[in-house]
């Protein structure tokens, strides 16, 4: 008896479930049964596969939650070889042993190879979440570009990266967001369309969204957006951090502009500024040296707090070794996620420059002073919110007005 072809699903859970539901919806006159290998014994699975059904000539049996046991893999291969012809098997590695890149198992590779060798069998690999390394960013961009193309739309690499930054690195979230956007998207998807319509899922994404509104002086919309974020469960502390970061970014942009750097130079410097202490990012050290300095600073704080502040040493976590040594980890932890944020900051400095030029003396310095005032005012609001959370909404609105230049 030749084995029946099987389907093996691996990777992203949501996408696998979606595909399985699609198959389920389009099969007729077939009895569909789902078994969890976590809950059903091998004997129960064997009995279910051999029972057929009263009234249906064919049946499909989906076996999910495959355990990481050699015996079970052998059992599955035996089951595939001996299942009656009226039963079609679908296997779903919902625990993701096949795709586990952190602990790749040779045994599962062999298992996949065995499935592959069965004529007519199909392996549907939806992959796992994309990593955070720069190398993965290229893969994400291609993934997003392909997803838009599949839906009949085109998107540039730059916009695709922005889109991925807003949505996150989860495949299912990216795909569903693409499908949602494609309902209203123009033939070519632009940066502004992505910014206006993509639902943000990270701190950086909130920064893009609110930053765009603030830079364009759409203060009422920005305040509304803040409330919307809070309604969706974003903690106000996160929003405060985002607004302070924006003020700091603008201040840094104006400072670099005052130093006479060109726009691309400013953008590049801002991208690498990240969250470093100023003494580190203003220096001419190499990135590796900056990294060491940064970790030293953190260690010094730990030492100070434990020796002079009375905090037990165990209260402080360790800096991850990857963060200290890996270039990728360093870049991810310390750099801005996307150039567009830096570009926007530079653009905003030029807008203020345009407003001041010819109207005030020594306008360059005045522009810089303006950004210092904004930064200090925003920091003031942050302190008020941190020490008294009774006026969060008022202070958040004030920060928006100050950042957009409506209020000084």
């Amino acid at each position: 008896m030749s084995p029946n072809p099987v389907m093996l699903f691996a990777g992203d859970e949501t996408l696998c479930r979606r595909d399985i539901n699609k198959i389920k919806a389009c099969v007729y006159d077939v009895w569909w049964q789902e078994l969890s290998a976590d809950e059903s014994s091998e004997d129960a699975i064997r009995t279910a596969c051999g029972s057929g059904s009263i009234g249906f000539e064919n049946s499909v049996i989906l076996i999910k939650d495959l355990p990481n046991r050699k015996h079970f893999r052998e059992f599955l291969l035996n089951l595939i070889n001996t299942t009656p012809s009226y039963v079609r098997l679908i296997l779903w590695d919902s625990h993701n042993y096949i795709k586990d890149t952190s602990h790749p198992l040779v045994a599962w590779k062999e298992f996949v190879k065995s499935i592959n060798s069965i004529k007519g069998s199909r392996i549907i690999d939806h992959g796992l979440d994309f990593g955070n390394k720069w190398a993965d960013k290229k893969v994400i961009v291609q993934f997003v570009v392909d997803a838009f193309e599949k839906n009949g739309h085109s998107i540039s690499s730059d916009s695709a990266l922005l889109f991925a930054d807003l949505v996150g690195n989860n495949r299912a979230m990216l795909l569903t967001e693409v499908e949602k956007l494609c309902i209203i998207a123009p033939k070519t998807v632009s940066n502004s369309f992505v910014l206006d319509n993509t639902f943000p899922s990270s701190q950086e994404a909130i920064l893009y969204k609110i930053g765009e509104l603030i830079d364009n002086r759409k203060t009422a919309e920005a305040v509304h957006k803040l409330k919307e974020f809070q309604d969706h469960g974003v903690f106000y502390g996160v929003i405060v951090d985002v607004l302070v970061r924006k003020a700091r970014l603008q201040l840094a942009a104006s400072h670099l502009w005052l130093q006479g750097l060109s726009d691309p130079e400013i953008s590049n410097t801002l991208i690498q500024m990240g969250r470093f202490p100023s003494k580190v990012w203003h220096s001419s050290m190499s990135q590796g040296e900056k990294m060491v300095k940064a970790s030293e600073a953190a260690e010094n704080v730990k030492e100070y707090m434990s020796k002079h502040g009375g905090m037990p040493v165990g209260y402080f976590g360790e800096l991850s070794s990857e963060c200290k040594t890996s270039k990728d980890g360093y870049i991810y932890a310390e750099a801005l996620p996307h150039k567009i944020v830096a570009d926007k900051a530079v653009e905003f400095v030029h807008r203020v420059e345009f407003a001041y030029k010819g109207k005030v003396q020594d306008y360059k310095r005045q522009v810089f002073y303006r950004f210092i005032r904004i930064y200090l005012s925003v920091m003031d609001s942050m302190k008020k919110i941190r020490y008294d959370n009774t006026q969060v909404d008022e202070e958040l609105s004030r920060m928006v007005f100050v950042l957009s230049g409506v209020m000084k």
Binding site: R46, T47, S51, S53, I54
Partner: protein, 432 residues
């Protein structure tokens, strides 16, 4: 509203009328109208007190006629939380219960967090007052519950039920349920495999249930007033076209109703075509429950095919002996075992996929073996048949053409048939 009523008569009406609000489905409801879904509506009129409640799956209504021991001092309608009301009432055994609505001057709108205002209209549950509860007996007690606006409660018009589809004695319904429920699944969201099927073939109405690998059939002897339109007679012109028409009602709901109705009198079913609902009523209470939809019913094959299959009797077997050998071998494989019928004996052998377990064997004598054969059957299915059978001996049959099915008959219960699919299990193949 103001009434005085005996606890023992009232609690029975509440139990039936508030069945929908007291159901697990209603009590687990977390929607913004959960307060209404979990409430029971009491309507006091000079002639009767009506108790009603409704959910998506079920609606229930019961009446208490005004007679001695019941005084309606003031007519009116109230809606109170069913669970709290029932539990308080249940504890006042032997007491006389007084219920009075104390209306608020202005209804209070309860704004649950997720209730929105739309178009300027207030969407919220209106609390119109409090219902004072007083119990006088060996123990005196008083309490009050909120009264919601009864007009906001979903209601079912029981007077609109169509002609009766069939009538069955309450005892037979309970009996049929206990016989067929063994072949249902615990839960099926489409209400196909967790439902009881009422289907007719050759003028006999059957109750049936299947989980696709086994089927339990029961033909109640007391079904009467069968509506030919719903269950066409075989000679009818449309019979062929409408063959296999059936009603499917979720087993859990039907069991609840059967329990509330008890075993006295008759129960009438009124199927509402096209609306996937059936009214079930007896002299004391009425219910409306959801039925499986057309697509769901189409998934279940007609029992006619099963009944038309020619079976040959293989043997008779002592129920207790069969139970014992199943118990012995199920410690190795509780799912399936190979049965060899030969030489006046049945030998059962269980083998497991689990490593390190040797096969387990057990055998027992059988009577009247017509032919030797070997097949693998589901142990759990056989246990279920043993559990429901009342006589000491079971008759086993297989189809004349193949051994894909095993039919189990209880000789003392000619209305009951039980079918189980044979299992193709390659681990037993080497035994052949």
């Amino acid at each position: 509203m103001k009434i005085v009523i005996d606890q023992d008569r009232f609690i029975e009406a509440i139990k039936r009328g508030a069945a929908a609000a007291l159901s697990d489905e209603a009590q687990a409801d977390s929607s913004n109208v959960s307060r209404l879904i979990q409430s029971v509506k009491l309507t006091a009129e000079s002639s009767a007190i009506t108790v009603e409640s409704t959910t998506d799956l079920m609606a229930s209504r019961a009446n208490v006629k005004v007679s001695s021991g019941i005084i309606v001092k003031e007519e009116g309608v109230i809606a109170v939380p069913a669970k709290e009301f029932f539990e308080w009432l249940d504890k006042q055994k032997g007491s006389c219960i007084g219920i009075e609505l104390k209306k608020l001057d202005t209804p209070e709108v309860i704004r649950d967090a997720d209730i929105q205002e739309q178009g300027g209209n207030t969407h919220g549950i209106r609390k119109i007052g409090n219902v004072a509860l007083l119990a006088k007996g060996a123990v005196a007690a008083k309490w009050q519950l909120p009264c919601y606006d009864p007009e906001q409660m979903p209601s079912v018009d029981f007077s609109e039920k169509p002609d009766a589809s069939f009538t069955i004695s309450a005892k037979e319904l309970a009996n049929g349920l206990s016989h067929t429920e063994i072949a249902t699944r615990d839960k099926d969201l489409e209400h196909v495999l967790d439902s009881i099927i009422f289907e007719t073939t050759d003028d006999v109405v059957y109750m049936a249930a299947t989980d696709t690998v086994r089927c339990a059939l029961f033909s109640p002897s007391t079904i009467k007033n069968v509506n030919a339109k719903l269950f066409p007679a075989p000679n009818d012109e449309q019979a062929a076209e409408l063959a296999g028409r059936k009603i499917m009602v979720p087993c859990s709901l039907l069991k609840t109703i059967s329990k509330l109705i008890g075993q006295e009198g008759d129960v009438t079913f009124h199927y509402v075509e096209g609306k996937d609902r059936v009214f079930v009523s007896n002299s004391k209470s009425e219910y409306r429950v959801v039925t499986t939809n057309e697509q769901g019913m189409a998934k279940v094959p007609s029992i006619t095919r099963l009944l038309a299959t020619d079976f040959k009797k293989i043997c008779s077997i002592n129920k207790n002996n069969l139970s014992t050998i199943l118990s012995i071998i199920s410690s190795v494989n509780p799912e399936s075992a190979q049965f060899t019928f030969a030489n006046g004996k049945v030998m059962a052998r269980a083998k497991s996929e689990r490593a390190g377990l040797d096969p387990s064997d057990a055998a027992t004598e059988i009577d009247g073996l017509s032919e030797s054969f070997r097949a693998v059957y589901n142990i759990k299915h056989l246990f279920a048949a043993i559990k429901i059978a009342t006589s000491d001996v079971l008759e086993l049959s297989i189809p004349k053409r193949n051994a894909l099915l095993l039919r189990v008959i209880d000789p003392s219960d000619s209305n009951f048939f039980y079918y189980s699919r044979a299992v193709q299990n390659p681990i037993y193949e080497e035994e052949a």
